[in-house]
Subunit: 551 residues, 2 copies
């Protein structure tokens, strides 16, 4: 026998999986690899299994022209390759945790059945929120969850000259980008005063500029109060009094966990209705697991609970549940989700990992942060573009709490570096000395991640006193850029003392007052503040510079 | 005073830095930011400071058309911005460690001088090796270290129809790529039987294919025995008997540390002649530092000594030395170098971080490894290309020892993820649950790094018994690919049992003999081996599949 690490199961165990997309399909595949004996039954309400959820907007927009590309696996494929029983168009209606049975109903003919199980894995996902607003029932107001929704939206979009997207989060931004086309008017409506509310405002700002440059009509800080149905269009009435008419409206305002089955079975639920699981994705009832968007997991950074409806975590949670069924406590625990996420918005990409300033403030957790800016690869090599990176850390021990990045290139790379650093519980000191791949087409001798570490350590060590924006500066402010830059993008009313002349012109400054320095990207202003501080001034550098503070 | 963290130096300290490029320039900049009082003198033998070393090949090839882009800073710029004294064309000739003095000579007029110092930072770099072979003195045999070398090579290359590059390491490959042009014949000669000997052979193999496809004439496992000078060309005579004629020969066979100054001063040197330093880059004499290519640093993975002649480490070491001068033991120690390196070879990129199998074997360190292959971003989204990733880890505790990657896209990202993981001393278990940024254009729900973690854990847990190549398989070998793939790229003589039919055709196999499975990329063969193992066979999956084993 070559399989010593697996338990010998005497009878043939039955595993039922409810939900056949990311987490459910991963669980099925891993379970089969761990056991040829197990009877594995996959119950799926829809007609499809294992489709590429995250690809749906890109078929709508035409970037993935072949719809069949989105079917990562078919029911027939799963049967052939994994030797599992796949029942599509079948709904799980009730769990009996005592008897370990699952009630199911075939949607096409309404026949019902009861299946016993040894282990049950719930992977029902989450459904798009449809708020109970007047007029919401108009069929031209759509949501996107599965291939059928996708087909409907794609067809409607082809006919529509005016489209409104409600919600400027990750999916809303993808939809705005993909639905934007010559001759079409796309409105993007967001309740928060910024796009991508999952980011801190200053990091989302470049996305709003990009969207507007691409002709998207942004309505920020504005909520929907009602819809009214006309013959040719639906009118969305906004709190501001604005009315947006569109022949297609796509709701992208978030998802809620599919928890009815779990709730009725008495499984413990979290504050927001997610199924509570342990480190092996096991619910409050042993032998019943939950994975993916429906469950709540640990936040490994601050040891709080969080629910992250994303494909990566779902897949790995499914694998964890299957591992625990066959390997028990020898299975690798799921370490919690960091919430790493990224979105492309035309030529820009933006993303987040870990905690944002907004969430830390809301939780009352003390933190420090800095925004740095450096080219994605060597500035002397053609084709570079700036990466803006915001780093957040704990002032107590320097441990990284999160990061956000925005730019044209290399955003995924920086998020992944910080995601790995978070997994290793690294500190701002560690970031200084990350040794990242450097050749001119790929990186720099000092990467923007190193700079974030340097800046953070400088703040901790009292070498950099950053001021987040011009609004926080008062009294003496000096622009230390070379005159040609000042001419191009002036800060009105702020005197210019170019850095190269600063040491000779110190007598123009009042030593009794703090001096605030500003430049293009926040680097020269730091250098100038160091010169001033080392010469006895109370000097503070304004972060980000003209790149962030001026349009 | 706003500068509490810096010591109050009573007199004006003098810091002398020898060498004004990566490490020396970084040290100067950081020193000035920490102190306006210090007198900082930068001694540089050449006419330039702070030029972009790593960009030299790309100006030769024309990708960086503007030569002035390579001058990151000029002597005048450094004076203006950092208020330091820059002495170019000046050679440091002797250190008196007792008296803390440095003897210098102005190269243009041979005048000499003696400077006293409080701290001395040696950043002399390393010089290209020119082996003492017959005929080596021909001026058409060049090396590349500075802007003047670059100009000479660029000029000679423009006139040459046949060019030979000796050494297929990182710089040799960059030169081969950059010098390749229509109408030119480029020979690349390497003593080792593979290109990029810094990688394990199987990971360098795709580069050799790419080079040959691009018309480069590769001479592997062949060394130079002598050169002979003709009127129109130099002939390089190889050990194999081949003679390569070229009107330009570029030697890229490595560098040796510039240690004469340190050696004469009695500073401790390592086995290969590098200056030994502590975690603050301090040499055996307190107050004298060494940074960059000339020094030997710690290897943080196996706690051995190593010397890594790369720009990233040099820059950060320079910063560390300056920090230690002004902040003493409060300075952040340099944590050692991982040797992260990357090279682009036409459409491919390849790189390494940490230890390779070759180096671990040579050191007698036990390790395990696996090569996995997955698309750089979601396979259902257009434009993806495969990433080959080799992971090496310690069988004792699962700690990562190193990685190598090769492919068309996303290579730098995977190296950076592993570099960060190495800094955090992560294990193969941690890689399974790295939560990397996923949206279709940027990544996958399960990244190739996750797959490497999965495969490594499967090996440790006895679920995967990998066989590195077809040569290690014997007896029963089955190709489990679908027939259409087998037809395209057959393994001659190996029977095909498609994975989807495997469970039904088990009686075609001999249960008393091991079964070796092979497929296209090593994934289906793993799944097939799991089916067989779970059904009582001694089953082993051949890594890499046709993608690696067939041309």
């Amino acid at each position: 026998m070559t399989n010593p690490s697996l338990p010998n199961m005497t009878s043939r165990p039955r595993i039922i999986i409810v939900g056949g997309v990311a987490g459910g399909a991963s669980a099925a595949a891993r379970a089969r690899r761990l056991s040829e004996d197990a009877e594995i039954i996959l119950i799926e309400r829809g007609p499809d299994v294992s489709f590429a959820n995250c690809g749906l907007p890109y078929h709508i927009g035409g970037e993935i022209p072949d719809r069949s590309q989105l079917a990562v696996q078919t029911p027939a494929g799963l049967r052939a390759i994994l030797n599992i029983e796949v029942r599509t168009r079948t709904e799980a209606t009730a769990i009996d945790p005592e008897r370990k049975t699952l009630r199911i109903r075939q949607l096409d003919d309404d026949t019902e059945d009861t299946l016993s199980f040894d282990s049950l894995i719930l992977a029902p996902g989450a459904s798009p929120i449809r708020p109970p607003l007047p007029g919401i029932e108009d069929p031209r107001i759509m949501t996107l969850r599965n291939l059928q929704d996708m087909d409907r939206i794609k067809e409607a979009a082809a006919r529509s000259r005016t489209i409104a997207i409600i919600g400027a989060g990750f999916i809303g931004l993808e939809m705005a980008e993909q639905l934007s086309a010559p001759g079409k008017m796309v409105h993007l409506i967001e309740l928060q005063p910024q796009v991508l509310p999952q980011l801190d405002p200053e990091m989302a700002r470049p996305l709003a500029i990009e969207l507007r440059n691409r002709g998207i009509d942004l309505h920020l800080a504005d909520g929907i109060t009602s819809f009214s149905s006309g013959e040719d269009a639906v009118s969305a009435c906004l709190a501001s009094g604005t009315t947006v008419e569109a022949s297609l409206i796509v709701l992208c305002i978030g998802v809620q966990p599919e928890n009815s089955l779990a709730k009725a079975a008495g499984l413990a639920l979290g504050a927001r209705g997610h199924v509570v699981v342990d480190q092996w994705q096991q619910t409050s009832v042993p032998g019943i697991y939950a994975v993916g968007d429906a469950c709540e997991t640990a936040d490994p950074i601050l040891c709080k609970r969080s629910a992250i409806p994303l494909g990566g975590p779902a897949n790995r949670q499914g694998r964890t549940a299957a591992d625990h069924i066959f390997r028990g406590d020898k299975a690798l625990p799921y370490p919690g989700s960091l919430g790493t996420a990224i979105v492309r918005v035309f030529d820009l990409a933006a993303g987040v990992v870990g905690w944002t300033g907004k969430r830390l403030e809301a939780e009352g957790v003390s933190f420090q942060s800095v925004v740095v800016n450096a080219p994605d690869h060597a500035a002397y090599y053609p084709g570079h573009s700036p990466v803006d990176l915001k780093l957040l850390w704990s002032p107590e021990d320097g441990r990284i709490l999160g990061a956000q990045a925005v730019g044209r290139a290399g955003i995924d790379k920086r998020l992944d570096i910080i995601a790995t650093a978070l997994r290793g519980r690294l500190t701002i000191d560690d970031l200084c000395h990350l040794e990242l791949a450097y050749a001119p087409p790929f990186g720099s001798a000092k990467d923007v991640v190193n700079f974030a570490g340097f800046a953070a350590c400088n703040i901790r060590d009292g070498l950099l006193h950053p001021i987040p924006s011009l609004d926080d500066a008062f009294g003496q402010i000096i622009d230390v850029r070379p005159p040609f830059m000042v001419e191009k993008q002036p800060f009105p009313g702020i005197p210019n003392i170019p850095f190269s002349q600063l040491r000779k012109r110190l007598d123009e400054l009042d030593r009794e007052q703090p001096v605030f320095t500003i430049c293009q990207m926040g680097k020269t202003s730091y250098q100038a503040a160091r010169v001033l501080a080392n010469r006895g001034f109370d000097a503070r550098s304004i972060l980000g510079g003209a790149n962030h503070l001026l349009d």
